[in-house]
Amino acid sequence: MINASLNQLGAALAAKKISSVELTQLYLNRIATHNPVYNAYLTVDAKTSLAQAAAADSLLSSGNAGPLTGIPIAQKDIFCAKGWRTTCGSKMLADFIAPYDAHVIEQFNRAGAINLGKTNMDEFAMGSSNETSYFGAVRNPWNQKAVPGGSSGGAASAVAARLCAAATGTDTGGSIRQPAALCGITGIKPTYGTVSRYGMIAFASSLDQAGPMAKSAEDCALMLNVMTGFDERDSTSLQREKEDYTRDLHLPLTGLRIGLPREFFTEGLSSDVGARVQEAIAEYRKLGATIVGISLPNTRLAVPVYYVLAPAEASSNLSRFDGVRYGHRADEYTDLADMYEKSRAQGFGEEVKRRIMIGTYVLSHGYYDAYYLQAQKIRRLIAQDFTDAFAHCDVIMGPTSPSTAFNLGEKGDDPVQMYLSDIYTIAVNLAGLPGMSIPCGFGASGTMPVGLQIIGNYFEEARMLNVAHQYQLATDWHTRAPQGL
């Protein structure tokens, strides 16, 4: 049951082979057994989850079920869920009980899905290893000494360890795709504006986008069907017709043009990851695709540009945490300014403070043109690179991450090394394009998963999911699960 696809689970629920209460209990039991090791969940509320499951069983009995009705989903702890503790991985929100539901949570509730719990994450989604969480690091189910990636590391670990049927994540610079790659699962960040950001705690608003993390592209398509849709409460939510992301899964790939950016296969890419990606490309040739050499000349600038723009937006977004209306307040202070400064110094961790300071600096008087404006101009050059490339290909492929999962503590002291681990994912957020990662084999002597990144043009999610699904029909990397689970 724990390896079943969402469609298989839906069929089992519909046929009464298992009830949603039984399925939810099965996952709760697995969480109780394994979460002390993996630390993938920050909050589990069995009573609430089982009550939702009982309600879902009624819906199933009355014949009013949708594809995800009764299916237990793990929610990243960045989404406000009414009555649930919502921490965003921070001491600042350690006791914050969300007073309302995020749009994503509403959508899953409406679909009759079960909220199985809130998953661990890097603090305020700032990190690539899940080590910045106030609540401790998450462990990678493929190797407990290794990081799961970040920031959606709890979600990736939970899916890989089969502690949920599927999960949600968010991706500002690679936070869905990189942990998906490092944990051997499938994840997609859709086009910016496709999933509402309402109730999703803001990091960098012009880049943040939510998406699903699951065992397969088919599962991701079903999840995306629930998560997407116009929401007037997010001013950047796009008014578009609701799509069925499963509609093109079955299409053959004959004639597909795959662009390989030469900048993704240069120094810095570890040889095992490069080899697995090339093998995946060879498999795509067999499936009827043709390969086109392309160039994304401004790739190397994506990291510096991101580390101006994202911290700038973060410094503004996180100014709301002042110890007045909600969140941590220092016990002792002398006056209002002292209260702000102490509350924020105590409530935020090192990485978050670092990024607030970068952002504050680049936006401060006299530096705006040199940093923020220059970064915005290069952002356009980076986006234009993709537009030019898509004139010659349908999708772009390459590695998701330069290496397999690194060990806990390995990059802890050097923020720049950590930042560079997102070199292949960040440009996609800057351009606002959809990107995904699928498992394509194992590196590090065959022990750790490697992710293949698929980048599509704007609103091409259905095509990308088709491209991923056809590969998953021809290969079985996505079905591999860690030992001992």
């Binding site: 914050f96 009980i97 007073p99 910016y192 504006g193 012009s206 880049l207 007037e232 001013s235 950047t236 796009l238 600038l301 990291v303 510096p304 580390y307 101006v308 410094s315 100014s319 002042d322 110890g323 007045v324 209306r325 909600y326 969140g327 307040r329 002398t334 006056d335 209002l336 300014a337 002292d338 209260m339 702000y340 400064e341 924020r344 110094a345 403070k353 670092r354 607030i356 300071m357 970068i358 600096y361 401060s364 040199a370 940093y371 404006l373 220059q374 970064a375 915005q376 101009k377 290069i378 952002r379 356009r380 050059l381 986006a383 923020p415 720049v416 930042y419 957020n429 800057l430 606002g432």
Partner: protein, 95 residues
């Protein structure tokens, strides 16, 4: 690029983050490293390039100027650090 101690102190104050001398020095070293990475941008000629402020080149939607939120003061104040008589309490700022 190397930041001075005074630069970091100024930024910490603007960001409302209390930091002691040890933390300021640690931040100075790390921020200097990050700004070295960021400095790679400066060599790029961006003359005539329009800044891209957002992933969508769309103007923001407008809505009617009417109240859409219901009053949930009690719910919202139930998670506040300190409230009294429906008001958020902060240290006195006016003598």
């Amino acid at each position: 690029m190397s930041l001075s101690t005074a630069d970091v102190q100024k930024v910490a104050r603007l960001a409302r983050l209390a930091m002691n001398d040890t933390e300021i020095e640690a931040a100075r070293t790390q921020l200097s490293g990050i700004f070295e990475l960021i400095a790679e941008m400066q060599a790029v000629d961006t003359t005539g390039i329009a800044p891209m402020s957002h992933a969508q080149d769309l103007s923001q939607r407008l809505r009617e100027d009417k109240v859409t939120e219901s009053n949930q003061r009690e719910l919202f104040q139930s998670i506040a650090p300190q409230v009294e008589a429906g008001l958020y309490l902060v240290p006195q700022v006016i003598e």
